[in-house]
Assembly symmetry: C2
Homo-oligomer: 274 residues x 2
């Protein structure tokens, strides 16, 4: 049964959105709709243009027998900036100040629409890099890791501070928490991360950098390579101990009884270099 | 500038998919595309039919001045059944057996596409109920909670076993772990859940039911009502102590050195009653 263009375009949009970074052969759509190759090519041209005009992302067409179409989610600079501005406004609020010099952010990470946009922004930075897995540590990094992994369409794996029975065998590393010099431990299920993966490290908050260093050590214990580090917020913190790791952050937080939230390095790093 | 139907349909699809359970006035699309109301109505008719034919979900149109269009994600019974069958095949694997009678499932919960479908299936059950928030406990329930919350477009909140500095003030409850009779504690940030919410409790694994009872107690401490309980897997466990809570599960696990995974009650409960 032939399917009309209107119906095809709706279904193709949904199909591509659900499968980012996945090559779909032209013949798949030809069979799905009983349409001619030329019609499907035209459909993809319309999709490509609309996705571009509306800032949804890139519809990439690879010609040839092994070719097909891929959807690469990304966000326009203006939209990313508007989101970061809103996020700063939401966080720039002294009622978020917690004893000991911390900031309450859990509410921000509870809204699916916010997380969706964070994932799309972060995936833009890594759109043309090979990422095989996203790695984070429980618990507040998990929703962000899931959102980025969804946009990159790769698995995300979660290290824990204590090993659970349901993790099976684990590998553990010790690391120094940069902010208070405690030695801490994190563990990761041996089955969860394949060797030789290129791993994107994700967390909600970067202070001394100890957690990120711990995650990087853990990745190396699995014979994996760190492809990048991506955090929602970094604190303006003097004694950060990063040896060789670049990172991107959406916002930067200054805490001194008052909270001041400004741009992280993301917008500058990612959009000014384009 | 007028936008052509092809481009409108693609953009509307994306727009609706990103905003489940949200009423969007017709005039919003009229303004967005500079199109006549009659054209937008026709577009919505095409969307409605295609979403139905392709099993994407329901496009609901509410007439009148306060009306508009809502997208309600759902999944057809056949697609849900195929997914549950695949999940059973993946889990029916003795190499998943862990000492003490546990099952390794973390890998299943690391794939965004798997989580997306779990979320869509579970949201189908609650598509016509008022749910204000999804509640789970760290850590393995988080990705499932996020996926369901994304499909219902409500915030999800995460209880913890220990309170973290970044939670601020918390409310804690003690509960008895049904599977080993230990008394445990869980805490939830006071700011995270609004009073009088109808809460959907979500977890990855249901054994004795202690955790779900604990979450229900916690919900009541916040003056919230439990709207339902939804778990990925339940164990075939004799001594479950559920007082008044119905639940749905996608799969049921029998562990006795060998693992046997069969249907949970979801397909029967949700799709046979329709």
């Amino acid at each position: 049964m032939k399917v009309r263009r209107s119906n095809r375009l709706i279904d193709m949009t949904k199909y591509l959105l659900d499968r980012p970074h996945t090559l779909i052969p032209l013949t798949f759509f030809v069979d799905r709709y009983g349409s001619a190759k030329s019609s499907i090519s035209e459909d993809l041209g319309i999709l490509k243009q609309t996705f571009k005009d509306r800032g949804i992302g890139i519809v990439d067409t690879i010609p040839g027998a092994a070719g097909g179409t891929r959807f690469l989610p990304s966000i326009p600079a203006a939209e990313a900036k508007a989101f970061v501005d809103d996020l700063k406004d939401a966080l720039n609020d002294d009622s978020r100040y917690l004893a000991g010099g911390y900031i309450y952010m859990a509410d921000v990470l509870s809204y699916p629409s916010t997380l969706r946009t964070i994932g799309r922004i972060m995936a833009t930075k890594f759109v043309d890099q090979r990422i095989d897995a996203v790695l984070t540590v429980a618990t507040k990094g998990i929703p962000i890791a899931q959102s980025i992994a969804t946009n990159l369409n790769v698995p995300f794996v979660v290290a824990q501070h204590d090993s659970k029975i349901t993790d099976g065998s684990t590998i553990s590393v010790n690391y120094v928490s940069g902010s208070n010099n405690n030695v801490k431990k994190m563990v990761l299920s041996k089955r969860s991360l394949a060797a030789n993966s290129r791993v994107l490290i994700v967390d909600d908050y970067l202070k001394g950098g100890g957690t990120v260093n711990g995650l990087a050590t853990l990745a190396r214990e699995f014979n994996c390579e760190v492809a990048g580090v991506s955090v929602l917020a970094e604190e303006n913190f003097a004694r950060r101990e990063f040896t060789d790791q670049e990172y991107v952050s959406l916002v930067k937080v200054d805490i001194a009884k008052h909270i001041t939230v400004s741009d992280g390095n993301f917008l500058k790093t990612v959009f000014n270099q384009k």
